[in-house]
Every structure is written in structure tokens, then in C-alpha cells.
Symmetry: C2
Subunit: 334 residues, 2 copies
């Protein structure tokens, strides 16, 4: 597989975003999130996804030069206005300040209103866990992608949520998932690979199951919540925290808790290690080499490639970068 330097990949994205009007500091923050996904092995939100970022300013009216500000705060809370920019910018500010507040009080919540796509929640909850905290994050979008249970029209985006907690010897537990049966970007990836979807993920507007991912199109098909009525409930929970609580149609939320309120920090990390060992020690299905936990493989992969300074690029992702190079004139990374 093709491989490029991480620094070259980041520079390519920042230069390409400059052609769309993104200031360098904002472009750096956005490129970091894309690279974070690529390094974890989530290609669907990595380089493959980057072309979407460049389309956002025209396609969905994203403000490329947002004036992101703290509009309200208390001892334990912070509210940021994202000024209709990429959610990454506002959510970085909210997360960083919420981490500072949790370090002082033991707990905090940060919200971002009027901010578009955060791309992935993993790096935000990872940062909290790397600082020793437990974090729950969510990103809600009132967009007609997912129907409520019993509905034939969309009411929610794929409304992802993430949760992280630090361990000792092991990498943090880090769950990052859409509340849909399959993330939208994964459906697009399946489409580009010419794959067929299992039934129960996608429906047409008459409620018939759709297995051809090429038919995934807002207003023509609906991505279903995971696990039926439970996933619908989780999608609405994300909406309550992310859009209702922010007073906006697209918003983001993070809740941070310092485990030291309940036990010594070292004891908590040891208990997390014990929990992980306990789970890994169960008898395995044939062909399963090791029981993994959420976020483990992604973090191990990231550590490996960060150490090498280079990251592999799948063919579909490379094609996507080639298209970006064609349209922007920025030279491809090596």
C-alpha cells in the first residue's frame, strides 16, 4: 500500500484548505482531526473524507473564517458560539476550556452552538482521557438522514456519541460511534468500493430496505438508527445534548468527570487495567486472536505510525487526494 509522511499529508491538507479560504490555524486544527482518523484506521473519516471538507464552504455555506467566541461560562460550564464555521474550531475551544475547569472542580460541560461538522469525536474525548478524565461527547445535527422509529422522513443526522476513560498500562477505552446502523461516511465508502449493504441499514421513502449504497442520498433514502427503537432513543439523546441544549440546529456537547472525586487516580487506572484484563481473558470464538476493546486497535495503530512518521493510504483515499490535487493545484504529498 502507498505510504506518505504524516507531516506531508498535513501540509497538503492545509495548503488545499487555503485555496478554499481557510486561515492556516483553523486549517491546521481541521487537518489534525482528519489525520487523527486516518492514523486510527478510520479511513472513512480520514483522507477519503477530506474532499467533503473542501466542498463545505459552497455546498452547505460553511463560514471559513468564523469568529469563535466564549459566550457564557460558569465554574463548571462553557458555551462557545461556532459562528457557523467547522465544528472542529469551536469544539477544540470548548473541550480545552472544559478540561481546565474539570481539573479545578472535578466536573464540567462544554457546548458549541452554531457550528458545523466536527468530523470525528474521538480526538476530543481522547484529549480528556489523556489528561486523566472520563468524557462523554456528542454531536447532533437536525438533518433529514435518520427517521424516528415508525417514520418515513428523516429527523436526525447520524448523531454520533463518544466516550473515553483513561487506563494505566493499556490505552484509554474510547468508544466513538454514530447512532445509525452505519455511519454515513462508511456508506459512501461502500458505494465507492461497489459493495452491497446488509438489509436493515438503509430504507427508501416507502420503508423498503435498500442494499445498494449508491442509492444513499438525502431526501431519497433514509439511514436507519442502530438497534431499532434503542438507536432512535440514543439519536434523540444526542440531539437533546447537542442541539436542544445549544439552542441551535447543529451543535456539540462534551461532559467531563475527574475520577479522582471517587478514588485515587492511580487506583482508577489500575481498576481500568483490571477491567480490560478481565474482558480480554474470556474464552474466544474460533479465529479470534484477541478480544479487543473500543478504541484499542485505533490507538495502537496511531502510536505505530506516529512513531514511523508515515501513514499508509488506501487506494480509494489516494484517489480522493488526487482529485483534490487536481482541483486545487496543490502538489500531492510523498
Amino acid at each position: 500500500m502507498r505510504e506518505i509522511s504524516i507531516s506531508g499529508g498535513l501540509k497538503f491538507m492545509i495548503d488545499a484548505m487555503a485555496t478554499a479560504g481557510f486561515p492556516e490555524d483553523d486549517a491546521q486544527q481541521i487537518a489534525d482531526v482528519i489525520m487523527d482518523s486516518e492514523l486510527r484506521g478510520h479511513a472513512d473519516h480520514g483522507f477519503f473524507f477530506f474532499q467533503s471538507v473542501l466542498r463545505w464552504p459552497k455546498a452547505i455555506g460553511m463560514n471559513v473564517t468564523p469568529d469563535v467566541n466564549v459566550v457564557d461560562e460558569s465554574l463548571v460550564s462553557i458555551k462557545v458560539d461556532g459562528d457557523n464555521g467547522c465544528g472542529v474550531i469551536g469544539f477544540n475551544l470548548a473541550t480545552n476550556r472544559a478540561i481546565e475547569k474539570a481539573a479545578e472542580t472535578g466536573m464540567s460541560a462544554g457546548v458549541v452552538s452554531n457550528a458545523q461538522n466536527v468530523i470525528a469525536l474521538a480526538p476530543f474525548v481522547q484529549r480528556a482521557a489523556d489528561n486523566g478524565f472520563i468524557a462523554l461527547a456528542s454531536s447532533g445535527f437536525r438533518f433529514p438522514v435518520m427517521p424516528p422509529f415508525g417514520g418515513l422522513e428523516g429527523a436526525f443526522g447520524t448523531n454520533p456519541m463518544a466516550f473515553a476513560a483513561p487506563a494505566g498500562e493499556y490505552p484509554p477505552f474510547l468508544l466513538d460511534m454514530s447512532t445509525s446502523g452505519m455511519a454515513g461516511a462508511k456508506v459512501m465508502e461502500a458505494r465507492d468500493r461497489g459493495e452491497t449493504l446488509p438489509r436493515g441499514l438503509l430504507e427508501d421513502l416507502d420503508g423498503n430496505s435498500v442494499t445498494n449504497p449508491a442509492q444513499f442520498k438525502i431526501g431519497e433514502t433514509l439511514l436507519l438508527p442502530m438497534a431499532g427503537v434503542k438507536g432512535y432513543g440514543l439519536a434523540m439523546m444526542v440531539d437533546v445534548l447537542s442541539t436542544v441544549l445549544t439552542g441551535t440546529d447543529w451543535g456539540h456537547f462534551i461532559w467531563i468527570l475527574d475520577p479522582v472525586m471517587f478514588m485515587e487516580r492511580a487506583a482508577f487506572k489500575e481498576r481500568m487495567d483490571d477491567e480490560i484484563r478481565r474482558i480480554k481473558s474470556v474464552k474466544r470464538k474460533p479465529g479470534v486472536d484477541e478480544i479487543a476493546y473500543a478504541g484499542e486497535r485505533g490507538q495502537r495503530r496511531m502510536a505505530k505510525y506516529v512513531g514511523l512518521g508515515r501513514v499508509p493510504v488506501a487506494d480509494a483515499s489516494w484517489s480522493a487526494l488526487e482529485q483534490v490535487a487536481d482541483t486545487t493545484g496543490v502538489v500531492l504529498p510523498v
Copy 2:
């Protein structure tokens, strides 16, 4: 369908628990949670479940006279030791104190260590929502019911989680779900009704799908997490909050947030009503009279029967109460 008075049903349970050694105040708290489930229409955790409560002292060594105490607290946190009693007792204390703390600071978390079954999380998050707060609760049990993804042995209980947020004209949004594909009590209910389970919920210890609910037995079959690897992640999230953070094998967690930190209370409730109306207004599948949201039907049902002072009892639940009457000598309610 048979119908009994709510006060008679409560008195029956309290008297029956007295024969097992439960003090009246503790029995009242436990009976309230059972009745809460019955009134919501969750018969699996209502009267049908009550016989389990009476078996706990002998079957799982539950302490019927626990000395429940606050062992640690801060401005935003409270830790309760449940003294190996029914989780309801410790979780009521933790929830009530966490609500008081959230009212002062805007946010709080409460945990209960060394406490057994809480029966249902709904009444605890409901209390927070009825006080104007958003709440997330979880109950974790390191019990070999659910395997991790790829495993052939159990590592988790059905590890439920619940979330509630208040609205204005509408009842609170209230999601209460196990992280298994089906709650254990629902499998037992299906068994007693002689029903067959869909595939993908239960497996034998070789990983073969099991559809006969009579085969559900700890150590012989495994209840699978909801939605594959996502449900496994949620089950472990519940475990982190409920057992890792409490330093115990069976513990409970609640996190409370006052929306007033981010907007006026009335504005939040209005936005919740708007969210609910928005969801209810989508085009419906044939045969769907109304789009419901999590907790809506249960709360409407509860309000109706509380108003009447009486509650219907399904045949299977009545048989369960008859058995209790037989073994305890307590006269059945009318």
C-alpha cells in the same frame, strides 16, 4: 384484564418483603420501583419481577438490612456505600443528594458501591427530570451474562443505561434500556409465554444462535449486546461508570446537569417541546398512528392509572403474585 388498587399492590409487596426480613422503609422504596415499572407498562420489571426480589436474600446473598451511608462527597459529587443491599436504597440516597448538589452548582455525579439490583433506572432519572434537570444513569454488574465481541464467555450483566430531560407541555424524554439486544427480564417473560426469540439475541457457549428462551441460563447461554460491537462498547461504558468508578463488582452511577447553565429554564423546556413536535410531525409508516419518543407512552400510562388509583395486572404477573401469596401467606391485593 384484572385490575388492583395501587395502594393495595404496594401494601402486598411491603408485607411480603417483611416476611423476608426487609424493614418497612426499605421495602417501601423497593415496592415503589416495582410499581413504577408496572405503571409504565414495563411488566417485565413490575409485579412479574417481584418474586425475584423475594428470592435475592437467599439466592444472591442480598443484605436485607443494609447500613447505607455516604462515604465521600464534594461540592459536585457523592459516593454512597450500599452495604450489599438492594441497589434501590443506596441509589435513592445518591440520586436525591446529587439532585440537591446540582441545584446548587449546576452539575453533579453520584455513585453507589457494593449495592445489588436497582430493578429499573427510569424512576431515578425521572426524578431528576421532574426537578428540571438532565440526567444520565447506569447500572453495571460484572456477571457472566453478556460476552464481549468475539467472546464465548460472559463478562457483563445486561448493564442498563438511562437518560432523561424535561420538556414543557410534553412528559420528559426518558430513555431506559439494557445494552443487551433484549433485557434479561424480557427473555424470562418470553419464556413464560412460550414464545420464540428472534436470532441474534441469545447464543450457546459454542457461539450458536439460540431461539428458545427456556435455554436462557447463566453459564449455559449468553445474551448478546445490542447492535454488535456498538452494544459491547456501550456495555463497557456502563461498566466503567458503574463498577470501575465505584471500586466494586456491582454499582450504580448518575450524572446530573442543570440546563439553566446554558439557557433559561423556560427556553430549554420550549426547545424540548419543539424537538418533540418536530419529530412527531414526520411522515409515518402505514399503521403508525403517532410517532412516540422514549418514555412518552410509559409516562402517559402511569399518569392515567395513578389518576384512577388502580393498575391492570396481566395474567402472567397475577400468577407470579399468587405464587408470592402462597409462599408468604400474605393476602392478595384487590
